[in-house]
């Protein structure tokens, strides 16, 4: 009899002798248990016994293929993750103040939130921008705003993450331009640009152009970054928003990695070599409340990605195979009811991210189900990370949950289901096709609908929402953005347009138009030239809109 058979046998004995009597006296709370993503959970997991060969193939050691246990050999024993709070609202001046505050509180990286007009390539004075200027992030119309945003922040001292997708090339160009003005050379700037357009079609909605020209912009950025700004992550392939849209943990990983495959294919097609850019690909995931499922999810994601890069794309450089990721705690798990409870949720989610081996983390503020976070709320969120880092002790051992019977089996189950999706998407002709056919959206919506129905039926308990509710909700203060902001920004734009060299701008926009028409041209240098001449974001995106057309969502309900 093998060791495992012996254990199984003993388990059966335990079930009939001990468990049975307990169940007869006290039945369990419900007939079936599952993770938040409906993966069945057994009562007691059995040991996963591995040979040395199996261990090395499945887990290996931290910093080594397949990176299940982490991408660095020492992980948080070396240094903690980057504590990076996503922030930005109102004008560049106001956001600049918030960044300086966060840095003074011990935050180690910046993360810029842009307002929706900026994210969709409209200037603040565009009619489409009515009501939206400065609301969910900072309004950036031109290099003038960008200079102000980073005023007094030396760009060689911080790493900056920018959540920008459709107009990613423009904002990256603006950042480079500001760094140059500060006298900082290209090889000194560090950061990440989200640049993940595919998930915009799937979940987040701030697309502008159709997939083909969008993918061209993405690969143009890959190429430019690999050559000009080597310490910059050229993309942050994001599962975060897919999860926010209601996907399961498995779908989050599967669709994100499938997007990654599509970007790689596009880059390879444009003539790049896998090891030239794969090391610059980074990821962005969500951390929800089901702690162990989340830990397993992160571990599975690392293992699958390493296999994809090594086996499918034949990369040689181990750095290309490492799935490095940023995490944000789950916005959709926050409740407007009893907002203080959110602090507890965020703590669990922080643990999930850290036990899962994240490279950087944003913790949500307790008031974000109601609006923009106040400074006090942001401070608690940051403190939560600091407490986990310095007081919880979970950072002392690398991948401390490895070998947990349950976590390892869950990691395997997630991996298996993710491969099934990845293969299915390949059968459909790749991610762009799958999105255009509405397959991905439909899968997510079905999960979201099922989840919500369970909440409605009280089959899933949300504390303070469908159970343990209280009558008198404490009112909490929220941050308000000045509704006159659009006027202020519009006046700035008017002034800018009166002062800059308009004939030069016009000429550079024509140059951009011509470059857009020639697929072989990398648009990054042309855009950089235009932003330096103070062409506005809306002007640049306007030219591209005209050349590339606009994407029309295909809704599947």
């Amino acid at each position: 009899m093998t060791e495992l058979n012996k254990i199984t046998h003993s388990k059966q004995k335990w079930e009939s002798e001990i468990l049975k009597t307990t169940l007869e006296r006290n039945p369990e709370r419900k007939p079936d248990f599952s993770t938040s993503s409906w993966i069945p959970v057994e009562r007691v997991s059995l040991p996963v016994l591995l040979s040395e060969e199996q261990y090395m193939a499945k887990l290996g050691f931290p910093g080594d293929y397949p990176f299940t246990r982490g991408v660095q050999p020492t992980m948080y024993r070396g240094r903690f993750w980057t504590m990076r709070q996503y922030a930005g609202f109102g004008t560049a001046e106001e956001s600049n103040q918030r960044y300086k505050y966060l840095l003074s509180q011990g935050q180690t990286g910046l993360s810029v939130a842009f307002d929706l007009p900026t994210q969709i390539g409209y200037d603040s004075d565009d009619p489409m921008s009515i009501g939206e200027v400065g609301k969910v992030g900072v309004a950036i119309d031109s290099l003038k705003d960008m200079e102000m945003l980073f005023d007094g922040i030396p760009l060689d001292q911080v790493s900056t993450s920018m959540t920008i997708n459709a107009p990613a090339a423009v904002l990256l160009a603006l950042y480079i331009a500001v760094a140059e003005e500060q006298g900082i050379s290209n090889d000194k700037i560090r950061g990440t640009i989200q640049n993940d357009i595919l998930k915009e079609y799937i979940a987040r909605g701030t697309y502008i152009f159709p997939p083909e020209p969008s993918l061209r912009l993405v690969t143009n950025i890959f190429e430019y970054c690999s050559k000009e700004i080597p310490r910059w992550n050229s993309i942050s392939i994001s599962g975060y928003h897919i999860r926010e849209a209601g996907s399961t943990a498995v779908q989050e990983v599967a669709f994100t990695l499938a997007n990654g495959i599509e970007y790689i294919n596009a880059a390879l097609q444009s003539g790049l070599d896998i090891d030239q850019f794969a090391g610059g690909l980074s990821f962005f995931f969500n951390a929800h409340n089901d702690l162990l499922e989340e830990v397993a999810k992160f571990r599975a994601a690392r293992r699958i990605w390493a296999k994809i890069i090594k086996e499918k794309f034949k990369a040689k450089n181990p750095k290309s195979m490492m799935l490095r990721f940023h995490t944000q705690t789950g916005g959709s798990t926050l409740t407007a009811q009893q907002p203080d409870n959110n602090i507890v949720r965020v703590t669990i989610q922080t643990l999930a991210a850290v036990l899962g081996g994240t490279q950087s983390l944003h913790t949500n503020s307790r008031d974000e189900a109601m609006g923009l976070p106040t400074e006090d709320a942001v401070q608690i969120a940051l403190r939560t990370q600091q407490i986990v880092a310095h007081e919880s002790g979970v950072t002392n051992s690398v991948d401390p949950l490895a070998g947990s019977y349950f976590v390892e089996s869950l990691t395997d189950k997630i991996e298996e289901s993710v491969w099934r999706y990845i293969n299915k998407i390949e059968q459909l002709g790749g991610m762009v096709r799958a999105i255009e056919a509405g397959y991905i959206q439909k899968e997510i919506q079905n999960a979201a609908y099922k989840y919500q129905q369970e909440v409605e039926k009280n089959e899933r308990i949300i504390v303070g929402v469908n159970q343990f509710t209280s009558k008198n909700e404490s009112m909490i203060e929220i941050l308000r953005v000045d509704p006159a902001l659009r006027k202020i920004q519009s006046e700035k734009l008017q002034k800018l347009k009166a002062e800059r060299d308009n004939s030069q701008v016009k000429q550079l926009l024509i140059k951009l138009r011509d470059a857009a028409r020639d697929e072989k041209v990398n648009l990054m240098p042309v855009i950089l030239e235009a932003v330096k001449a103070y062409a506005t974001l809306g002007e640049i995106c306007g030219v591209l809109r005209k050349e590339f057309g606009e994407y029309q969502e295909s809704v599947v309900l």
Binding site: P210, G429, A437, Q552, E553, S554, V555, V556, L557
Partner: protein, 319 residues
């Protein structure tokens, strides 16, 4: 004349919308409304757009609207989606791809739920066309649900039917052989940017060769389009208009429209008789009792209906 009819004829969109609701809800004034606007009908051309789900019908419609607006024509769209057989509810999402036209005064888009009606359209579609025609829309596009062979009704409602096909649907060509081909006048192979589009086109052409041809046969155009890349749309317009021109010359359009009237009369007759007869019978004797009798095998369903039909003819007096 009722006020609503007047406003429909004036082309007021609020009135047009309300008139269509009257039709959908079988409003008591529905027939008077149609009577009053009917003299103003007859100017519009009706195109049916059918094809399987995912073939890009809505996106094609979107492009057609742009082209028609560019030459100054007023366009109305009726987009039909299925009602849930369980709840009776529906999600009508076709207009999403046409929302660019939402603020264009020369475009009217109306989503309709099938409300249990089979045939790819809604029971109200044919009267809704009259309202839109009377309101002055030059072109009326009917986008069907798109489930396949049962969508013959769009043929009865339209002057010309565009059957939209796409590569990659596998069984499609089989379905065509099974009769869907008879529905289409113009065959559109959409998503022509895909590798296997040419193959679909060849197969359509091949199948069309077996179509029965008499002396009046007008060749069915087969057009390659890409709604995504905005390609082939002009050709589609040209071919469709040509086709309409040709069937008009040969008198087929008039014949088709007359056939539509015949079908409509038949439909109204059956509807009315059915309603009157049902009311009469259920008034006369409780239907449940009859069902019980038939269940007990005391009489057959035929003898029951025949007997009642005889009495109906004898006793029925128009109220």
């Amino acid at each position: 004349m009722i006020e609503l009819s007047e406003n429909v004829i004036k082309g007021q969109s609020r009135a047009v919308a309300r008139a269509i609701s009257w039709i959908e809800n079988d409003h008591e004034m529905k027939e008077s409304l149609i009577d009053q606007i009917y003299p103003y009908c007859g100017k519009a051309v009706v195109w049916g757009i059918t094809g399987p789900p995912g073939s890009g019908k809505s996106s094609l419609v979107d492009h057609l609207i742009f082209r028609m607006r560019a030459v100054g024509k007023k366009v109305a769209v009726i987009a039909v989606d299925p009602s849930s057989p369980f709840s009776g509810g529906a999600i009508l999402g076709d207009r999403i791809r046409m929302q660019k036209h939402a603020t264009d005064e020369g475009v009217f888009i109306r989503s309709m739920a099938s409300r249990g009606h089979l045939g790819g359209v809604s029971g109200a579609t044919s009267d809704a066309i009259k309202v839109l025609d009377a309101a002055g829309y030059d072109l009326i596009l009917i986008e069907t649900i798109g489930v396949g062979q049962t969508e013959i009704e769009v043929m009865e409602l339209s002057d010309v039917v565009l059957l939209v096909l796409v590569p990659g649907l596998g069984d499609e060509i089989q379905a065509l052989k099974a009769g869907v081909m008879e529905i289409g006048d113009v065959f559109v192979v959409n998503k022509s940017d895909r590798d296997d589009a040419d193959k679909v086109r060849a197969e359509v052409k091949y199948i069309l060769e077996f179509k029965e041809q008499n002396g009046n046969y007008i060749e069915n155009p087969v057009v390659m389009t890409s709604a995504k890349l905005n390609e082939g749309i002009d050709q589609l317009l040209k071919d469709t208009e040509n086709y309409l021109h040709n069937i008009n010359l040969k008198g087929q359009l008039e014949a088709r429209r007359k056939l539509r009237i015949l079908n409509e009369i038949n439909r109204i007759i059956s509807g009315k008789i059915e309603e009157e007869l049902k009311t009469f019978i259920t008034q006369k004797e409780k239907l449940d009792n009859w069902i019980e009798k038939i269940y007990q095998k005391k009489c057959s369903p035929y003898s029951f209906v025949n007997e009642n039909f005889k009495t109906f003819l004898k006793e029925y007096k128009k109220p």
